[in-house]
């Protein structure tokens, strides 16, 4: 029902196929970080802002952050595949380009993104789209799924033992 689907929903649905572009990140994180990537859906300036943003959403901790795993590139690829480019998202990126977001103090950046994360309307939508894209791609990577989340499944077991804890019953 495309007529009943908002642009934001459409984008969110597409990211359900995040796995597709995750495959494109089969380079090692280090190789990825060094490679000079030519963004296609985004301009260089927009891409620069995106890189800053995705690392603010998922920074490096004991495990790598978003750009080290190529999440920035995956998002550009996802956007490239869209029939209907998410204008509101691009508009907001442009606003950040214009305001020199990449070059301001880190504490100011955090403050600004916090505002976005709590805003309603266009800004709030922008933040949610950005976050959906970032987390969908990040946790579809091997590092995100296995190292960060500790996922142990997707394998064949003879038995599924179930809960053996007295305190849970």
């Amino acid at each position: 029902m495309p007529d009943q689907t908002t642009r934001r929903q459409a984008l969110v649905q597409i990211t359900a196929g995040a796995a597709a572009s995750a495959a494109l990140a089969s380079l090692s994180p280090a190789a990825l970080a060094q490679a000079t990537y030519q963004p296609r859906a985004l301009t260089r300036e927009q891409f620069k802002i995106l890189r800053v943003l995705v690392d603010m959403i998922i920074p490096a901790t004991e495990t790598p952050g978003a750009t080290a795993l190529g999440v920035d590139r995956m998002i550009d690829k996802t956007l490239t595949g869209q029939d209907d480019p998410p204008e509101a998202f691009l508009d907001e990126l442009n606003n950040l380009v214009a305001s020199g977001f990449a070059d301001i103090e880190e504490s100011d950046r955090v403050k600004l993104l916090e505002e976005y994360s709590q805003a309603a309307g266009e800004k709030g939508d922008f933040f949610q789209i950005l976050k959906d894209l970032t987390v969908d791609h990040y946790y579809s990577t091997e590092v995100g799924l296995i190292d960060e989340l500790g996922y142990e499944g997707n394998t064949a077991l003879n038995e599924f033992p179930g809960c053996t804890h007295e305190e849970h019953r």
């Binding site: 495959a23 969908d136 946790y139 579809s140 997707n154 599924f160 809960c163």
Partner: protein
């Protein structure tokens, strides 16, 4: 040379058509089974792929109707219908929850004063539930509940930690968590590979541990030597002559567009609800200008299905624990409906499937507020505590909710598109509120660290029914109690479109039971010369 004439032409090879063709051939009938889709080899599925090592997501686009070539048009509220195009129909990627309807579920009018009673009772269908369970192999436990009759079960799935915790909590609020009942082999010795708990059930089980007519029925039917399977061929229309009798099915090969005619004594439509109604409506002639068996303008009407609501919860007891391997066979537990309170503003009930979402994605990552280090940490800590409560509620059958033929648009094959018109009714909206309320109460009782209510209501969770309903009243129904159309003796409609009304329980076990029963009656009528 005169064309071969079959005893029965079955249209569609899903749960209904597969089971029907299986039972008919077993009983000695020569059957032509026409299936629009082709064979998909389960061993070639990449069900154990990783999101990061493949160029396509693990999905099954080749088994459903292509939305570009064969779209559905919608009017009204946001719902969607699902349509298979593969040998085995949607049993190739269903989730296999197999629940008997209760005695009262067949008597909505007598018991609740809504809708109508079915023309058959629980007692009449019970022996066929036995047969359906034997065919499908259903795991579960006997619970002795009036709202959810017991069946013939094999070893149940064991409960995960989250399900044990919810089981304990549910007692405080008058709910009851029981092991789910699924058509799934939990142990060896049932003629198929046992489940290996990988959690990819709805992408198609690679070893067919789940019941699937393509693997568990059709090969057996073929071995009788009485089955002619025409896969990749679709029925365009059913043809009648001057008599009220279907003479032949006009079929075409989807790849080549070549046409042929299939002749048979009996025709059984099992196209999966929407498509069954569409085929009858598309089969117009001078004698049947409204489509087949549709003098009363009821074909396509009373379309309904389940209303769904979902809340994901993250159990305090499990936050920050070691994740382990929780995949299993998706949902291992079910909460049967409770008695609807006297004075409630809705009729009917809802059941809850726990943990249908699986563990390969952090479903909460989009919803947990904030960003940065704390956010990342929280997503990790919550992951092992994930549980989902997906409630399925009864929807009241309503004549205005219907499938018609689109007046101008056609699909790639020149067939008018189905047009689905649907609006939720007040009972449905009240039901939706009660369902969400039930999920939240459950989490309150269990104590959760975080919860996310998904956007809703959803319809119909691939559980669409109605459209060619059976009933007692010829003015509001098409079929008699044997799934036979009243207007055309040798025409049967055997899938979920035949349901008079629909409780909160998943449809497929009842579809298979009705198909086995219809096969028996078709053979009996044929032997008596009634067809």
């Amino acid at each position: 040379m005169p064309a071969e004439k079959f005893d029965v032409c079955v249209i569609g090879s899903g749960a209904a058509g597969g089971a029907l063709a299986g039972e008919l051939t077993r009983r000695g009938a020569r059957v032509a089974l026409i299936e629009a889709g082709k064979y998909r080899d389960p061993s070639k599925l990449r069900t154990h792929g990783w999101p990061y090592d493949q160029t396509q997501p693990v999905a099954v686009p080749d088994v459903t109707a292509d939305p570009k070539r064969e779209p559905v048009t919608y009017e009204g509220d946001a719902i969607s219908v699902s349509r298979g195009r593969v040998i085995g129909g949607r049993t190739t990627h269903w989730n296999a929850v197999a629940l008997r309807f209760s005695e009262d579920d067949f008597r909505e009018w007598s018991v609740n004063g809504v809708e109508e009673d079915w023309p058959i009772s629980y007692d009449e269908i019970a022996p066929y539930y036995d047969k359906a369970e034997e065919l499908m192999v259903v795991c579960g436990t006997r619970e002795n509940l009036k709202v959810l009759p017991d069946g013939r079960f094999i070893k149940p799935l064991s409960l995960r930690c989250s399900e044990s915790i919810l089981a304990r909590a549910s007692k405080k609020i008058g709910m009851r968590v029981i092991p789910v009942r699924k058509a799934l082999a939990t142990e060896a010795g049932h003629g198929r590979a046992p489940c290996h708990y990988c959690g990819h059930c709805m992408q198609g089980c690679g070893v067919s541990a789940i019941f699937n007519t393509a693997e568990h029925v059709i090969p057996r039917a073929r071995r009788t030597g009485r089955l002619t399977l025409r896969s990749g061929w679709m029925v365009r229309e059913l043809r009648t002559g001057d008599e009220a009798r279907v003479q032949s099915a006009l079929i075409f090969e989807r790849d080549s567009r070549r046409e042929e005619e299939i002749h048979a004594d009996v025709f059984a439509v099992c196209g999966g609800n929407i498509e069954s109604a569409r085929l009858l409506l598309n089969s117009r002639s001078a004698r049947f200008p409204n489509g087949l068996a549709n003098n009363n303008d009821i074909v396509g009407r009373y379309l309904h299905g389940h209303i769904t609501g979902e809340v994901q919860g993250y159990l305090k007891d499990l936050v920050g624990t070691k994740p382990g391997n929780q995949d299993g066979a998706l949902d291992h537990a079910y909460i049967p409906r409770t008695e609807t309170a006297k004075g409630a503003d809705y009729a009917g009930g809802f059941g809850i499937q726990l943990n249908v979402r699986g563990y390969m994605r952090p479903h909460h990552a989009r919803f947990v507020p904030g960003f940065g280090r704390d956010f990342k940490r929280r997503v990790r800590d919550l992951q092992p505590a994930h549980t989902s409560a997906l409630a399925f509620g009864k929807v009241v059958a309503h004549a205005e909710n219907r499938v018609t033929l689109h007046p101008t648009l056609v699909d790639d094959y020149g067939l008018p598109l189905p047009r689905v018109t649907f609006h939720w009714q007040p009972n449905d909206i009240a039901m939706y509120k009660a369902m969400l309320d039930g999920c939240h109460k459950l989490y309150d009782a269990a104590s959760v660290a975080f919860r996310a209510q998904l956007k809703g209501p959803g319809g119909f969770a691939s559980h669409e029914v109605g459209c060619v309903r059976m009933g007692r009243d010829p003015k509001t129904s098409i079929l008699n109690e044997f799934n036979q159309t009243r207007e055309i003796k040798n025409l049967f409609v055997v899938d979920g479109s035949s349901f008079t009304t629909f409780p909160e329980k998943n449809p497929t076990l009842t579809i298979v039971a009705l198909a086995i029963r219809a096969a028996e009656n078709i053979m009996r009528m044929k032997d008596r010369g009634d067809l």
